[in-house]
Symmetry: C2
Subunit: 185 residues, 2 copies
DNA sequence: AAAAGCACAGTCCACTGTGTCATGTCGACA
DNA sequence: TGTCGACATGACACAGTGGACTGTGCTTTT
């Protein structure tokens, strides 16, 4: 019971230490001031395919960034529109975040869960689920290819788009081999 | 201001209405009673590659399932081990969940975020990040192939494993084409 | 045999992420 | 005039993540 083996240092880093969502908001604000509403749409368009974010979250993060002085609120517009702009601290924090090694990906695919417990499920129903998902992936792939054909604004957008295409191709290839795996006698 | 166009029905479904994480716990409990600790490890082994769950979450869901009567706590063991077993209601709820159409997947890949803002990042550093991730994906693919070679307990496990392999192959193919996309003049 | 270390087993908390309900504003247009 | 739809935000409950913390019992080291 003597001495507690912890000093409670609590190194909060004080600066930076952004989560990826907050960081991406700062990223978008480099293009000029924007409201939460606008940022939601920008984000969904530009990174929505591999980084989901919701209205609630955007407003919450903006408020937090404001409290930390990384963005500042401008004069409110009509319809209670509240624009924010990047501060110098925000710019610095974004730069620091961007230079840090990104973490590994997270995938959560409910279809795979259902499939994993597939022995307890009617075979036709399972196959139906897979067929439904197949059309979703086909549509997404078609959409990506269209986007690519239409031309990307820059190399980096093209690079992330290429990921989407490879991913969807992989999923479709998997679905093609699924019947053989499941039907084996 | 006249009549509000909503009846506030609040159809809570009363039964079932499980989240996928809770459902998978019920799924594992079909094999016999288990403690939270054991379930964490079972889950990480069997579905961890496409459905992440944490200690905190497992214990919280177990408590919730207990409150709802879908599992019941058995006599505590040594080290305050608390085993749970499936109730009939739990079995029914699991069956109902399994027969529902699974939702679409969620992917969150921080590397793609960094890449999307890549114009603001030193080229060598970005390439370094990609190289680091490449080795991760190579190792995962190798691990999956090994698992497959070692033989799967059942077709369904094999099917989910096949997904992992296709996915990792897709990511590696993407990484192979990345330099060409980014280097273009 | 005492000490140390480790796997087992669980709690608590802060933060992040998702989805729904609710509220109010402004312009178009019928 | 009214009502519809896009604009704009807030509140809240639930789900998910990760770290700090507390204890217990077995095994290995000294």
């Amino acid at each position: 019971m003597a001495h507690r083996p912890q000093w409670n240092v609590k190194r909060k880093n004080l600066m930076a230490d952004l989560n990826p969502t907050a960081a991406s908001l700062l990223g978008f604000l480099h293009a000029g001031e924007a409201s939460g509403y606008e940022l939601v749409h920008t984000a969904q368009q530009l990174i929505g395919d591999f980084w989901s974010l919701t209205r609630s979250q955007v407003y919450r993060e903006l408020a937090a960034l404001d409290r930390r002085g990384l963005v500042e609120a401008g004069p409110a517009g009509p319809r209670s529109r509240q624009p924010y702009r990047l501060t110098d601290e925000g710019r610095a924090a974004f730069g620091a975040w961007l230079a840090e090694p990104p973490g590994t990906e997270q995938i959560r695919y409910p279809l795979l869960l259902t499939l994993a417990f597939g022995s307890a499920l009617d075979r036709d129903r399972l196959m139906g689920f897979i067929a439904e998902h197949r059309t979703v992936h086909e549509k997404r792939l078609a959409g990506y290819r269209e986007q690519r054909a239409a031309g990307c604004p820059d190399r980096f957008t093209e690079a992330t788009l290429a990921f989407g295409i490879r991913y969807e191709e992989g999923v479709l290839a998997w679905m093609d081999e699924l019947p053989a795996i499941l039907e084996e006698r």
